[in-house]
């Protein structure tokens, strides 16, 4: 388990102090795929880099399975870092070394038995499906292949945690999908906790169990991806969700164009399957006009959004909203 408590970190930029991380506390359970999302400059990468002490912190603690990594130095710190793999936006492969040498690198540093290195590298290459590239140099690989090599290298020493700093941000959408699939598979097969920093809500939607939304060095909202998708509280969370393609375009709907009440319905999992619209019409004296709708597939379930116009007496409309919220367990929000 990774437990971050009251973490603070400031940078000195041209004489100005910038609070990169402002009193952040966060708990990441073993086996989670935890997303940290935010706009650039929000402090998400800095937060991630504190976890393996690529950045020193000003105050607070980061405990990894009970060991406070912020207090460690030199040899003990290096030993702890060896339990944490990391992948990067620009892959950071050794350009002058082959795929084989790149993956063997952490093994050699970790004094892995020499005669077993070759087998281990082959096993990893099979896992990431790049056996035929064993003698290639990074410059001969595509972006997706480079990231696969980087992933194989990061997990070669069987770490318990894998950090991804914008690991898919430099890749095209279909390659991103294949890398995400690989990460999901690693999480599933090897029970490695994955913490991934991203600015793409797609990534969070596709593979994360939980997500923290970071803004100005603070976590403005965190929880399971389902929670954030069904009832985002912060403006940033809303913006990220609406950034997804095919999402409800609230901006386009001008409430003054309609006579009735515009209501945004968010439903999760089973409630998505109920015929709620015909339910409403039958039970209450209201008309329902569907303005827009969509459904997002998440890691564990589905989240649907529907924007409807409810036409009728105020009282009937209020009753229908209460009914939706209390009986159908749907989040209804009057826009």
């Amino acid at each position: 388990m990774i437990e971050i408590s009251n973490l603070n970190k400031t940078f000195n930029v041209d004489g100005n102090t910038v609070q990169a991380i402002n009193n952040v506390s966060l708990k990441i359970n073993d086996g989670d795929i935890y997303g940290i999302i935010g706009y650039s400059g929000a402090g998400k990468s800095t937060l991630l880099r504190c976890i393996n002490k690529l950045e020193d912190v000003d105050s607070g603690s980061i405990s990894i399975n009970g060991t406070d990594i912020t207090k460690l130095k030199n040899g003990k710190l290096r030993a702890e870092k060896k339990k944490i793999g990391m992948i990067f936006q620009h892959f950071n492969l050794l350009q002058q070394k082959t795929v084989f040498e790149n993956i063997a690198f952490p093994l050699k540093i970790n004094k892995y038995p020499k005669d077993k290195i070759k087998d281990r590298v082959l096993e990893l290459l099979e896992y990431v499906d790049l056996v035929d590239k064993i003698d290639a140099y990074p410059s001969q690989l595509s972006g997706g292949q480079k990231q696969r090599v980087a992933i194989a290298r990061a997990i070669s020493t069987n770490p318990t945690i894998l950090l991804s700093d914008e690991g898919t941000s430099a890749l095209d959408p279909s390659t991103t999908q294949s890398i995400l699939e690989l990460l999901k598979q690693i999480n599933n097969d090897l029970k490695i906790t994955i913490v991934m920093v991203t600015h793409q809500m797609e990534v969070v939607k596709d593979i994360c169990d939980k997500v923290a939304i970071v803004e100005k060095g603070q976590i403005v909202e965190n929880g399971t991806v389902e929670q954030i998708f069904t009832s985002p509280k912060s403006k940033t969370a809303n913006l990220f969700i609406s950034s997804l393609q095919g999402d409800v375009q609230e901006d386009i709907i001008d409430t003054s164009d309609y006579d009735g009440k515009i209501v945004r319905l968010s439903f999760l999992g089973d409630s998505a399957k109920k015929p709620i619209v015909s339910d409403l019409v039958r039970k209450f004296d209201v008309d329902v006009n569907i303005l827009s709708g969509n459904i997002n597939k998440l890691q564990q379930s589905k989240v649907g959004h529907l924007i409807v116009e409810l036409i009728g007496k105020d009282e009937e409309i209020q009753n229908s909203i209460d009914y939706l919220e209390n009986t159908c367990k749907i989040v209804a929000e009057v826009i």
Partner: protein
């Protein structure tokens, strides 16, 4: 003419190769220290960095011909004489060492910060980062830097010939200038040009062949 040229060529090669080796032994670690101690470096130490920078700049600002004279007592102390090829190696090495430190620093700085960060993130020690990441990644550029050093030293060794060193410079001076034997003068110049071309060509080829980027 050949009986004059060949010993001079060998002397020049001897002076250049030994002084290159010494300059590398001194300058290479200094270049590494410069990169490690600079602001944001792996073991940032601005005091060490500033002092080292000052000394390197100081040595580099002394014209070579004056350095030779300044260093006469040291040459005498180290090799027992102030003239001849072996004595010339001392000022050559001392003038080339800070140059090597500077070009090595530049070569090492060219290495992508990301791969160094990868080393830090996976728990490699500073020594492992230098020996297994920084230097191998910078190798093509390091080879180019060594080529540059050798070519500089060929030209400096010719200059050293003027003040009692041996080699092609001395040959050109003694026979070409004092005895006005134009043939020897031109021959010495042509050999020096060919030598520079050959080292440059070989250095470029080698740098290119080891570069996998």
């Amino acid at each position: 003419m050949l009986e004059l040229l060949i010993p001079s060529i060998l002397e020049t090669l001897y002076m250049v190769s030994v002084s290159t080796l010494i300059a590398l032994v001194i300058g290479f670690p200094l270049g590494i220290i410069l990169v490690m101690t600079e602001k944001g470096g792996l073991s940032e130490n601005l005091l060490v960095n500033n002092i080292l920078n000052f000394i390197i700049n100081l040595l580099r600002s002394i014209p070579f011909i004056i350095l030779i004279i300044l260093i006469f007592p040291l040459s005498k102390l180290l090799v027992g004489t102030m003239i001849g090829t072996t004595a010339t190696i001392v000022p050559l090495a001392i003038s080339a060492a800070p140059f090597v430190a500077r070009v090595m620093e530049t070569s090492l700085k060219e290495v992508d910060k990301g791969v160094v960060e990868f080393g830090v993130s996976m728990g490699a020690s500073n020594f492992e980062i230098i020996s297994k990441i920084l230097v191998p990644e910078a190798l093509p550029s390091i080879i180019s830097s060594i080529t540059l050093t050798i070519i500089n030293l060929i030209s400096y060794s010719a200059m050293a010939g003027m003040v009692g060193g041996g080699g092609l410079g001395n040959l050109a001076l003694q026979y070409g200038y004092y005895r006005t034997d134009k043939a020897i003068l031109y021959a010495a110049v042509i050999v020096i040009i060919l030598m520079v071309q050959a080292f440059q060509l070989a250095g470029d080829k080698l740098a290119k062949s080891v570069n996998k980027k």
